[in-house]
């Protein structure tokens, strides 16, 4: 029996290690390749070669994208302009909305919340057409606002925060109400201090999603306003070395956010139940 357990646990570790390696491997490969010169990367590609340790370590790719080719920084800036307002705006509308859906009784609440969930589930194939139509009507196609505004009002944030606020006992709010607290006071003094984790989690999920946006900018923005995410895909294949360096820079903010808020992120995702 003991013998068998040992075999099983060796197997388990083997599986986990393979998966863990698989999860990290592309990132490692990319980082290491970003420190190679263009010829080295290309030589490896043309010769079927698995090449992970640089023959001659160089920062030339980073020098290129940061100093010699302003294009990259421009796109990076575009990504920031699009992502940051969406994340901040979404957190704002979500907190207020979630408070209403979780703690206040109002007419048609259930029905509206159901429609929010429905919209959240819909893929871009459904949502982008209406967004394009309305943006065309109010003459915003091609402006950053055409991506930012619908992003702010994506219903996912309200949903996530509502699920979280539901887990805070109603008694706390009732007690405060008896003491004469207004809704605003309850929200800021009682609810907010308890939902910092959920806000962090929403911020991460929203940041990661919008930092990676592809569908919206492709349709709504002109060429010079495209963010880094779509720009990366247009990098030529014979500039792969540079592409690797761009890719590394591009994922830095995401990784930074993840490493600083992993615990909250996990808790947030665990609250995503549709009950």
């Amino acid at each position: 029996m003991k013998e068998k357990n040992k075999i099983v646990s060796v197997l388990e570790y083997t599986v986990l290690i393979i998966f863990a390696f698989g999860a990290l491997f592309p990132v490692i490969y990319m980082v290491s390749n970003s420190f190679m010169g263009e010829e080295e990367v290309n030589a490896a590609l043309q010769n079927f070669k698995f090449h992970i340790i640089p023959d001659c370590f160089t920062m030339i790719q980073y020098y290129t994208i940061l100093i010699r080719k302003p294009d990259f920084l421009l796109r990076f800036w575009n990504s920031v302009i699009l992502t940051v307002p969406i994340v901040i705006g979404q957190i704002g509308t979500s907190i207020f909305g979630a408070y209403a859906f979780a703690k206040i009784e109002f007419k048609f609440k259930q029905q509206i919340f159901f429609m929010f969930i429905l919209l959240m589930i819909m893929p871009y194939q459904v949502t982008l057409v209406p967004i394009y139509i309305i943006m065309k009507k109010i003459n915003l196609v091609g402006s950053y606002a055409s991506v930012i505004l619908p992003g702010i009002f994506s219903t996912f944030g309200v949903f996530l925060m509502t699920q979280f606020l539901k887990s805070i006992p109603d008694e706390q709010c009732e007690a405060a109400k008896v003491d004469g607290a207004s809704h605003i006071q309850i929200l800021f003094k009682i609810i907010m201090p308890q939902c910092r984790g959920a806000v962090v989690s929403l911020a991460i999920l929203s940041f990661v999603d919008n930092w990676n946006m592809i569908e919206q900018p492709l349709i709504l923005l002109g060429n010079e306003k495209q963010p880094l995410s779509t720009f990366l895909s247009q990098i030529n294949n014979n500039e792969l070395g540079m592409a690797f360096a761009c890719g590394v820079m591009f994922m830095m903010p995401s990784i930074f956010v993840f490493l600083n808020g992993e615990k909250q992120l996990l808790q947030g995702i665990q609250h995503l139940d549709m009950k």
Binding site: G97, I104, F106, L118, L119, I133, S233, V248
Partner: protein, 290 residues
């Protein structure tokens, strides 16, 4: 007197509720409901400026469009293959992680990592691996096999499935972990006292109690799989191999020539289809809930 006050306070709650939910509701109505209603009108009309009612003609046209048929076929095929696969993989890994393994939290962190890695970055690695002269073909060459340029062939489809599983397993794993933690430990203790084997305990306790979680993961996986265009676009651009020509490719190509009628019709069809699918899934879930 008391009654009047009650009615008043109920009215006030109503108003306060709408004030708090106001911004999100206004955004929802402005950027989705109203334009969606407009696009429903487009579905049944033709012409620019002066619209003509044409009944279901747009729907008939769309269903006969071969590009649309291909996109629907690929999208469904992708769902059918990748969703069960990602559920099995992530449930398997979760069960291992949950079996009192050392360093479980380290593995959990590493395995959720792909969730935040931007696809636009790592796609270069996949491209290098699956290129004509890439790493995968390098390995095959040593075995005496000359591999194809994967991204120009039907292999794209399987590469996309692989990327999907790579990216989404971590997400599902977190949800499964929460589900497993909600199962009372006493059940397992009782079953082991009764002499139940671990396999039996899994099928008699874990799986039935995990049904709601599995449903939820199933829905999340479908949502994510309908968003696979992102990865497909990064992998092969606007005009990929026909095996990964997805619905969003079809939409994008029609955005270029601004065919509102066709776009609206397609979007309404997807809306109805996804809505119905989710509705029935929820109904099914209620039936199985313990």
């Amino acid at each position: 007197m008391i009654k009047i006050e009650n009615v008043n306070s109920k009215k006030r709650e109503n108003i306060v509720g709408y004030i708090f939910a106001g911004p999100s509701i206004v955004g929802f109505v402005l950027f989705f409901v109203i334009p969606f209603l407009i696009s429903i009108v487009y579905c049944f009309t033709q012409g620019v400026g002066d619209l003509q009612f044409v009944g279901f003609e747009n729907f008939v046209d769309l269903f006969q469009n071969s590009a649309f048929q291909l996109a629907v076929k690929n999208t469904i095929l992708f769902n059918v293959i990748s969703v069960p696969l990602v559920i099995v993989v992530s449930l398997g890994v979760t069960l291992i992680l949950n079996s009192k393994i050392k360093k479980a939290s380290f593995f959990r962190t590493v395995l959720t990592f792909p969730l935040v890695i931007p696809m636009a970055s790592v796609i270069f690695v996949w491209q290098v691996f699956f290129a004509q002269t890439g790493v995968v073909n390098g390995i095959l060459l040593k075995l005496g096999i000359v591999g194809p340029d994967y991204l120009q062939t039907g292999w794209s489809f399987f590469i996309l499935v692989f990327i999907y599983v790579w990216k989404n397993s971590g997400y599902n794993m977190i949800i499964f972990l929460a589900g497993l933690n909600n199962i009372p430990k006493e059940y397992y203790e009782a079953s082991s006292i009764d002499g139940c084997s671990k396999t039996k305990a899994f099928f008699k306790i874990t799986l039935p109690l995990l049904v709601p979680t599995i449903f939820f993961v199933f829905i999340i996986s479908i949502i994510n799989s309908l968003r696979i265009y992102r990865e497909a676009y990064l992998l092969s651009g606007q005009y990929p191999d026909s095996s990964i020509y997805m619905l969003q490719h079809f939409m994008n190509n029609n955005f270029t020539n601004l065919n509102y009628q066709r776009l609206s019709t397609a979007s309404v069809i997807v809306f109805v289809f996804v809505g119905l699918a989710v509705y029935y899934l929820f109904k099914l879930q209620k039936k199985y809930e313990v």
